[in-house]
Subunit: 284 residues, 2 copies
Amino acid sequence: METIDRVAGMSRAAGIFRREGRTIGLVPTMGSLHAGHLELVRVARARADIVVVSVFVNPTQFAPGEDYETYPRDPERDAGLAAGAGADVFFLPSVAEMFPDGFGTWVDVDGITGVLEGKSRPGHFRGVATVVIKLFNIARPHFAVFGQKDAQQVAVIRRAAGELNTGVEIVVVPTVREPDGLALSSRNAYLDAGERRRATALRRSLDAARDLVASGERDPAKITGAMARVISGSGPAAIDYISLADPDTLEELTALRPGAVVLASLAVRIGRTRLIDNELLTVD
Amino acid sequence: METIDRVAGMSRAAGIFRREGRTIGLVPTMGSLHAGHLELVRVARARADIVVVSVFVNPTQFAPGEDYETYPRDPERDAGLAAGAGADVFFLPSVAEMFPDGFGTWVDVDGITGVLEGKSRPGHFRGVATVVIKLFNIARPHFAVFGQKDAQQVAVIRRAAGELNTGVEIVVVPTVREPDGLALSSRNAYLDAGERRRATALRRSLDAARDLVASGERDPAKITGAMARVISGSGPAAIDYISLADPDTLEELTALRPGAVVLASLAVRIGRTRLIDNELLTVD
């Protein structure tokens, strides 16, 4: 595995791979790699000649007051894990090169960025869309792999990549979970033992939603109400949102129509840690 | 010359050119080609293996009430002119494919888009930057050629292309003029005979600015004042702006420092036609 820490070096390497006719798969991450990221790398490995794993803690996607400074960083450990999962290139650009002082070109996606995560995290998806388009231009992937855990991110990136004609295929990988159902997240490291136990409520609330839909419930308010009861029954937790929405437009659903795929998602604060989870439910 | 009218077709062709190791030069236009555009094509021809001329009257860069509907369109004539100047590919995408209903991904450039042209034409540079990034992704050029006549467009595109890491070199070609100095523009066709005579005032006002700077004048207000007098002395005309600014940041200059390059620019309405012109002045 080759480590590249300069934008020009990555561009040059990508140009060579492209001229050689090799397929490039990109796995963009913020580092602090866990088994969820490594699953993304393995999916890329199975399809690409060259797997590029980027690690960049993107300051522009953290809202003011969020955990940009304290976000866990361990690039040496990440490099070892990425290599073990099959990465060929470990791309580690600097903030100074990616977002130099005076930087001012932004990719703004209308509509779907103002709801759910975007409502709680102003500017988050502008930062995400901008850094992803930059990484696409630098690493020139044929496809890029993202986790379903960040469902809204998937919707935003899919739309930006398509509407800007990047030609990059967006590959989405199911959420990887702990044995008790907690979705893997670098932020799980912030949880103490009691919070960690309560955190399983997110997964259990999604189970409740799935069971209700399977048993014929079609009223979104009843389903989100049941989800909220699972969360509040698990101990102290602040619900940021619980949503049943269209997976592409992210519009809240007022009814569940047969054949529809519904994005059930939620964000909950447990102690000082904000956790998200989601599941795609199919209505019979 | 090959004509391509589908985005997918252009992408496919660009991919083949790239794999063959051929250099692609793009000349993005809104059609209605004149000798200024053809000069851009010739500059591209001299440097590229494959010259792509795109013709797309971009609805998103016209402000409400502007001349989108009446903008001159004659793709058959344009194709003949492009071929004659050495184009290999004539790319003519549709509005339905480029900006389908519900389109919502925009490239926004901070700061430099709100002044000069951007002040009079809300949304103009958002539309310009978005379509240019789309065209770069579709046609995958190594370089793209623009005219100095649209100086602010050059600054915006240069910044967006660089900050989004497109890797596309921005090549700028000096303004082509009529024998009497009027900058070539598709909108010159809107002028009647009297307006056409008065329109030379733009070039003459820039001559006055250049002469004043050459003779040692260093007060921007005195220079823009002299430019305004040339315009108002030429007959009925409404000055939109007259500016001496930094060519990259587009900040208005309060003093002319030795060695500086200054963008002198102006926009003037003559009758119902809005004309622009500019010159880069070097301060001794």
